[in-house]
Amino acid sequence: MTLDTSVAPGVVRKRRARSGAPLTRSSGLGLGVALTWFSLLVLIPLCLVVIQSIDGGWATFRETLTNPQTAAALRLTVSQALIVTAINIVMGTVIAWVLVRDDFPGKRLLEVVIDIPFALPTIVAGLVLLSLYGPDSPLGVNVANTERSVFLALLFVTLPFVVRTVQPVLMELDRDVEEAAASLGASRFTTLRRIILPSLAPAITAGAALSFARGISEYGSLVLLSGNLPMKTEVASVRILTYIENGNEAAAASVATILLLVALAAIVLLQLVSTWVARRG
């Protein structure tokens, strides 16, 4: 991956011409086929979830939300996802920094390690964490069936997101600007705050949004690890599954809709923060 030094300061090469050709007949047909498949697979089923949740009016919503077990599950899910996202923002950026700016034997191995949580089946991820942090832990740390297990599982599965979004931007970042800032007397901290962070902010935001969205929706890695104890380690996804298994699809759809709304709100909020950081820089 060559570094391109001709790029303007702080500007990451992005999409070039945003205008494309008008649709031809064959590409129009292709678009039609693609849109049909996308609608049948993703859009219509997801819309049905939202429709199902508001089908019974607000009553189902209110009932579901005031159910103490569901409320506890939502609280746990959102709070743990928030903590994990905060850690990922810091650790993910530091990891990306080390992978791009540092050089040491075994660095390529770390590149693969970053992708492992993404490649590993989630149920296996749970099993993997259980082997080090479960009842037979060689470290003597047993988090199984506690709130810590939810935290740990989310930390594992969301590891790649911030790293993988920040890394390419950091590679493109022009070092000359940092050197100029330093030669003009800026301290390392000022350079970091005024030059580096504003350029990285959009990428960090995108990674954080993905990591939060993944965090609140996680299911597979928690199955074996958290024990799904009601009011204690049960997350929102497990609540949805329980509702489905009990045949209460309206309640399941309500919780699902709330999760979709929380993810959406987080993405919008992070976008605002990112714009603010980038502008203030």
Binding site: M1, T2, T5, R16, A17, G20, A21, P22, L23, L31, V33, A34, F38, V42, L43, I44, P45, L46, L48, V49, Q52, M91, I95, V98, V100, R101, L110, E111, V112, V113, D115, I116, A119, L120, P121, T122, I123, V124, L127, V128, L129, S131, L132, L159, E179, L210, A213, R214, S217, E218, G220, V223, L224, S237, I240, L241, I244, E249, A253, A256
Partner: protein
């Protein structure tokens, strides 16, 4: 990716390096190593027991078939939609490009619920009508393929779109002006330049497809030897206290996914994608 200007190494460099290595070691490397170790604790016994269990082998077979279908669908769909998004202008392009990422933010459990509401045999919106013409989707292989395709849908697109934007259209236009047809231009010009991004996207999709658990659990019905995939077997074996088989099946699943990633990371040329 060697830095062209060496930064002076300070104490901070080593602190950061140690922090990162320590963090990754405790979170990923050590736990994964332990699962490998547990798989081979009694030599090859665990793997042999697992592979002679028809429940496991049937599940592995189903998983591979489903993953191949889902990856094939996502590859064709992904290349097509990426070309449309980058090369053409149509109303709603921005919205479509935003919606494409949606499956990454949706809980697998919600994916399962959504597909059941649409294609469930008894009370789904389209399910009963489709069943009348003899097509069962939920609790059968087509449903598992759809759930798998849903969760891995954006992965190919996310890899190719930046490359397509990067390479621009000059070469394609040159080919066209020299008399190449659209297919010829695609096979001879476009495909070679997006090759590595495509391979990486396909490998990520494959890894995700082999490992899908939540969505499949809901739409498949989880019937052993019929609609039970490998990840569902891992759960069942673990809960039935057949930990050896659970570890062995996990190991096989992880092996395929990680091996594919490692191979691509090694093969992929360093000056990836573009011409600069």
């Amino acid at each position: 990716m060697a830095s062209h200007l060496k930064q002076p190494r300070t104490a901070g460099t080593f602190v950061r390096r140690t922090l990162v290595i320590g963090y990754l070691f405790l979170l990923v490397i050590w736990p994964v190593a332990l699962v490998v170790q547990k798989t081979f604790e009694g030599g090859l016994d665990n793997l042999q027991t697992a592979l002679s269990d028809p429940v496991v082998t049937d599940a592995l077979q189903l998983t591979v078939i489903v993953a191949l279908w889902a990856v094939a669908i996502n590859t064709v769909f992904g290349v097509g939609i990426s070309l449309l998004l980058v090369r053409y202008d149509f109303p709603g392009r921005g919205a479509l490009s935003a919606l494409i990422d949606l499956p990454l933010s949706v809980s697998p459990v919600v994916v399962g619920l959504a597909l059941l509401l649409a294609y469930g045999g008894s009370n789904g919106t389209f399910g009963p009508a489709l069943e009348d013409v003899g097509l069962q989707i939920a609790f059968a292989t087509p449903g598992i393929v759809m759930a798998t395709a849903f969760v891995s849908l954006p992965l190919v697109i996310r890899e190719i779109v930046p490359v397509l934007q990067e390479i621009g259209t000059e070469q394609e236009q040159a080919a066209t002006s020299l008399g190449a047809g659209p297919w010829q231009t695609f096979w001879r010009i476009t495909l070679p330049s997006i090759k590595w991004a495509l391979v990486y996207g396909v490998v990520l999709s494959l890894a995700r497809a082999l490992g899908e658990f939540g969505a499949v659990k809901i739409v498949s019905g989880n019937v052993a030897r019929q609609t039970q995939t490998a990840t569902l077997v891992v759960e069942q074996k673990y809960q039935d206290f057949e930990q050896g088989s659970a570890y062995a099946t996990s190991f096989l699943l992880a092996l395929i996914a990680v091996a594919a990633l490692v191979v691509v990371t090694i093969l992929r040329p360093k000056d990836n994608t573009d011409g600069d």
